[in-house]
Symmetry: C2
Subunit: 366 residues, 2 copies
């Protein structure tokens, strides 16, 4: 038995019921179905699909996504992109305003070694910082990030998008690579309207727009409702989670990630305590009032988390209640942040471990 | 320059203003003052102090706590205890119900190699699981966890505490090691009342109680208000955070941990976006409605986090607002969960890096 505290003591062939808890586990069948279903949708609608690796941070899964038909991958920071470049990925979009000497130095190195690197920018400051460090010999591709209503980053108007695109195109070391947005869910009309106007402005300015990229899992299967979009980015769809069930994207049977936890205390008839707290489930609520779904106990409420304990309110449950020592499966509110807490991920098929993958891009500094 | 994405590119002598962001940084002066202030309080009141290492997960910091006068350390899982045993710590309390074959096997190995290992139990199931695997030759010390009102784990009444203590004492392989609680803040009267009754029951049963252990940082400096308590456990006090300011435990000037972040976007005059999201700050709200305090901008509200972005609402701020590329310091809502996200921690004195410590017990599986 491997006693290293950093390693999962799980081997192919083990039963997940025998694994030490808490840990996330991934159902191979659901994983494969999620990859296939999304790619089939994008293929049907002729939309390029660029999976976001933030959800899994595992090169082998990105490889499966690309083999299914995805065109390139999406990362959120340079260090993630470095890990995936090391794993052989050649088409990477980093959807972030890259600022500062150290990050731009790393970006230069990365741009030298993969075929197709793109970043986003939403300000003249970001563009000028990049422009100062790239040259026509090996230019960097830059997309303009547009705020189509989500209220995060992005230029605020189609005019501003075209203006920033012009600034990018005027830099010898940069290439204008298209428009990008991270929209609110179900915001197709806003996305379509913003991008249509921005494309008209670009045309007036004589600028070619190589791509129009939108994103998000909640409305993934409605991407075609904004026909101006040529590319879609999404991460969560590969595992799915409770927030995606609520969004109508999937059902409980499409959730590939569960947190395996043990009931460690039953202090009262209405209270159970599990060994999964905020250091396993995270405290991402995403609008929910509790911390996940307990499979098989639909009335159970994960009412509170401390760091290594989760307190489950069983008061609405019937007579059949989990016992001390019993293992339960939890569908987390949000998968992407769970992946970020674990160095290794255990995969299984019908409860039998198939493989253990390092979460290669977990916990990276910038 | 070290390009490894897992390493902090920081060296002693660097200025924190030059560090790549986002990352937590620790102020050496405040750290030392927090350690000294708490220990002086416990020394004054003759209460044994057992720091909880969950907050920092760094053996060098536990060493400083013990050198200041702490008696042993508190861990929350076996794997953490293994890391600290490897670092030479000989007196470790794991405040958890340990269940299951793999964990108990590890616990046996740990009990063989350190002088003083204790765990907690709140049920006959936990006790019988432990009893089956330990023998009189090398017994395991077990404390009874009591629920004095926090509503997490613990037996519900003083009678139940004495009963479980009796069960522990009757096992050849176990030793009853005392009573333990993780109380609500400011619950001294409830703690005093519960433990006083439990001690009376233990006395009636002829059971000696070697220790009465309470815990928590929010009411740390009121530990003496429950004079029945012989030992206090606390973790957060070493770094402090926004929740401890609110609890009245400390002031802003006592917060040793800041998250260094960069303003990466200013989409509107009222909105700034930083490169610290839920994968740097975590989404622990702890009752707050936003995600941390921005030092120097008291009216700024970190209104929303996505994984790698934080959205700051500046609408209540005056004319002086942070600019793109500017670095800011954030006091997080909760330090302990931030530590768990980073492989290395940067320390500084007056803004100059003093050392970089591995967060040795971060992200351990059980």
């Amino acid at each position: 038995m491997d006693h290293s505290p950093f390693r999962v003591s799980a081997r192919p062939g083990d039963h997940i019921a025998d694994l030490s808890t808490p840990r996330p586990i991934i159902d191979e069948g659901r994983l494969a179905a999620n990859i296939a279903r999304a790619q089939a949708y994008f293929d049907e609608h002729g939309i390029a699909f660029r999976p976001h690796i933030k959800t899994h941070k595992i090169p082998a899964l990105a490889q499966a996504q690309v083999e299914a038909g995805a065109r390139g991958i999406n990362c959120q920071k340079i260090t993630e992109a470095e890990v995936f470049a090391d794993a052989g990925f050649e088409d990477i979009l980093i959807t972030f305003n890259i600022l500062g000497h150290e990050k731009i130095e790393r970006l230069q190195a990365l741009n030298q070694r993969i075929a197709e690197l793109k970043v986003t920018a939403d300000s003249a400051e970001t563009v000028s910082g990049l422009a100062a460090c790239f040259s026509a010999e090996r230019p960097l591709r830059v997309m303009v990030e547009c705020d189509t209503g989500a209220g995060r980053c992005g230029v605020q108007t189609p005019d501003a998008a075209a203006e920033l695109a012009g600034l990018i195109a005027a830099q010898p070391g940069l290439r204008f690579a298209g428009l990008m947005t991270y929209p609110r869910p179900a915001a197709h009309e806003a996305v379509q309207a913003f991008f249509t106007k921005a494309l008209a402005r670009l045309k007036e300015a004589g600028l070619e727009c190589p791509a129009v990229s939108s994103g998000g899992t909640p409305s993934l299967f409605e991407a075609h409702l904004a026909p101006v979009v040529t590319e879609h980015r999404a991460g969560t769809y590969i595992y799915n989670d409770r927030s995606m069930i609520r969004a109508g994207h999937c059902g409980q049977g499409d959730c590939a990630m569960h947190i395996l936890a043990t009931i460690v205390s039953r202090p009262t008839s209405d209270r159970a305590v599990i060994d999964a707290g905020s250091k396993a489930l995270t405290s991402d609520l995403l609008g929910f009032s509790d911390h996940g779904m307990v499979v098989g106990y639909p009335e159970a409420v994960i009412a509170a988390l401390s760091e290594e304990h989760g307190v489950i309110d069983l008061s609405a449950c019937g007579a059949e209640r989990p016992k001390i020592g019993q293992k339960v499966l939890i569908i987390p509110n949000h998968t992407c942040v769970v992946s970020n807490l674990f160095d290794e991920m255990v995969f299984h098929r019908d409860g039998v471990v198939t493989r253990v993958e390092p979460v290669a891009a977990r916990g990276l500094v910038w």
